[in-house]
């Protein structure tokens, strides 16, 4: 990485963050709702990106963890408890359940693992719907309060959007730390070559369970934001299609790329809104766009960028080698 490239990246990062803070200031209620939803879904997708993109473990249950987090937040905050307590409960609960859900991954992989997690997803949905005493079943839980954060009320849309954006910032930093740590390297090893990883002393079993647990816990974090965002939850949003949506966000953005979930969630949450002017056709156009993208680049949007950068680097490197070689040959 050249110094100029580094400055460019920092400049782009600062510009994007500034835009995310300033531009929405005069958005209407609905626009802010959609943007907040983007931030929340990005957090869930980041969790799945860790499990699937970095550690290579397929999961069709991320939506269920968002649901568990959302119900924890809804039940606890409507009883008068603070959201931070609900967040703690959601993280611990999702971490523990994610850890347990990781055990099948020690035995089965790929499609088989997808089916196991799919079964869990369905099970969670049935619990949300049928355990009336806890979740109020199909009637759902309403009047979910929005929290006070550091003394500021977030009941209005703009402050709540900033709360979601701030949470996304914190999660992103933590994730950046995690994937740059030796753990992140071990997760990638798990994805790329588990047999070799094992022969290098990497406890693949423990890292697999960790990848599931941490990824699921982030689903729970997203859920605790989702409940106060919509202020009303019922079981429907947390059915299998949410898990599939999150999976699509990860894959479309670029599975295993740090910024993949941000882009993927943007496409999944915002593109349908932008396509609304086409009225009845918007879902069709959206589906076609996603299919074309995945045919062109199976590794998602960031896969295209990565390919371009790799090509350029290879060209530069071979040019450098050619120069060195000709110097050696012409040397006396």
């Amino acid at each position: 990485m050249t110094a100029a490239g580094k400055y460019w990246r920092i400049a782009i990062g600062v510009a994007v963050i500034a835009a995310l803070i300033i531009v929405p200031m005069n958005f209407n209620r609905y626009g802010l709702f959609i943007l907040s939803q983007w931030a929340v879904m990005t957090i869930a997708a980041m969790g799945l990106n860790l499990t699937l993109g970095y550690a290579g473990q397929v999961s069709l249950a991320q939506g269920a963890f968002v649901g568990i987090g959302a119900y924890a937040a809804a039940i606890m905050t409507t009883q008068g408890m603070p959201l931070i307590a609900a967040l703690g409960v959601a993280i611990v609960l999702c971490f523990a359940i994610g850890w347990i859900l990781g055990y099948p991954a020690l035995r089965v992989q790929h499609h088989y693992l997808a089916f196991v997690t799919l079964a869990f997803s369905t099970l969670a949905f049935l619990v949300f719907r049928n355990e009336d005493w806890l979740t109020k079943g199909i009637y759902g839980i309403s009047n979910i309060p929005r929290p006070n954060v550091l003394g500021f009320a977030t009941s209005r849309p703009l402050p709540f959007y900033y709360f979601c954006l701030g949470s996304l910032g914190v999660v992103s930093l933590a994730m950046w730390w995690l994937i740059r740590s030796p753990w992140g390297r071990a997760f990638v090893a798990l994805r790329e070559n588990p047999v070799r990883a094992l022969s290098l002393g990497i406890d693949t079993r423990r890292y697999t369970l960790m990848a599931f647990a941490i990824g699921s816990a982030l689903g729970g974090v997203a859920g605790t934001l989702y409940a106060p965002l919509t202020q009303y939850i019922d079981p429907v949003p947390f059915n299998l299609s949410l898990s599939l949506d999150l999976l699509m966000m990860v894959i479309v953005g670029g599975s295993g790329f740090f910024f993949g979930p941000l882009l993927g969630a943007m496409i999944a949450v915002l593109l349908p809104e932008w396509l609304r002017f086409t009225q009845g056709y918007y879902l069709m156009l959206y589906a076609v766009a996603v299919m074309l993208l995945l045919i062109y680049s199976p590794s998602g949007i960031l896969g295209i960028l990565d390919r371009y950068l790799t090509e350029r680097r290879t060209k530069v490197a071979s040019a450098l080698r050619a120069v060195t070689k000709s110097r050696l040959e012409t040397a006396p």
Binding site: E192, A197, S199
Partner: protein
């Protein structure tokens, strides 16, 4: 001298096929033992049984006098037993340096220190030293998948040495490596053996490589031990000539 590795009566069958059929031997500290034999004679299966990648049907493996049969490969590795693979087994998307850091990071600290400690697990210097030792300097930041076959083979060997192992099992380290690089590899292995007192077991088909590097050579045929001795003894053994030329 003490035995680093003691293998007694290892058997491994797959269904009705006895891939390894009662092999016993031991390896002394600082020794380089060659393991040769025709294709399919059970060399790699024997390796996998020793390393915990396969569970032997019968028999016992001891490292430094301690029974390790049934331990997982990761546990064995942390006891100082390392290996290279016959087929390329590097992490293609990680850079050469990252591959080496990964190969060493689980040998120190614990899960917590690996999460909150430095990103390179304090291994950058050790990795660069290894890169220099295996003459991969100009490739340190390249993705391992972009290296030539021979370079990946060198990286694979370098990775096996990152954790400072006592015993290294090398499965066909010379396969597909060109002559210049082969000389390099042999010289590196001999140097590590001399300086670090590391003990090696080497599976190899390249006779010149085996005979010049190894202190003792063991020959397998059809899952059994056929002969064991110094390179010159083995070369003169009629049973060995029969096994290689007869079939």
């Amino acid at each position: 001298m003490t035995a680093v590795l003691e293998v007694s009566n290892i058997k491994k069958s797959f269904g009705g096929i006895k891939a390894v059929d009662g092999v016993s031997f031991d390896v002394q500290e600082g020794e380089i033992l060659g393991l040769i034999g025709p294709n399919g004679c059970g060399k790699s299966t024997l390796f996998n049984c020793i390393l915990g990648q396969l569970t032997p049907t019968d028999g016992e493996v001891k490292i430094d006098g301690k029974i390790v049969t049934g331990l997982r490969p990761s546990e064995l590795n942390r006891l100082g037993v390392s290996r290279t693979f016959q087929l390329l087994q590097v992490f293609p998307k990680l850079s050469v340096r990252e591959n080496l850091i990964l190969a060493g990071q689980e040998h120190q600290g614990n899960m917590v220190s690996r999460l909150f400690g430095p990103s390179d697990a304090g291994l950058s210097a050790a990795a660069d030293q290894m890169i220099g030792f295996f003459k991969l300097d100009h490739l340190a930041t390249e993705a391992a998948g972009g290296l030539s076959y021979g370079q990946q083979k060198l990286l694979d060997a370098a990775m096996a040495f990152m954790g400072g192992p006592r015993l290294v099992l090398l499965d066909e380290p010379a396969g597909g490596v060109n002559l210049t690089m082969l000389g390099d590899l042999k010289e590196r292995l001999a140097a590590i053996n001399r300086e670090k007192r590391a003990t090696f077991v080497v599976i190899e088909h390249n006779m010149e490589f085996v005979m010049s590097l190894c202190t003792r050579v063991m020959v397998m045929a059809e899952g059994r031990l056929l002969a064991m001795g110094t390179p010159s003894e083995v070369r003169a053994n009629p049973a060995v000539i029969e096994a290689y030329l007869g079939h």
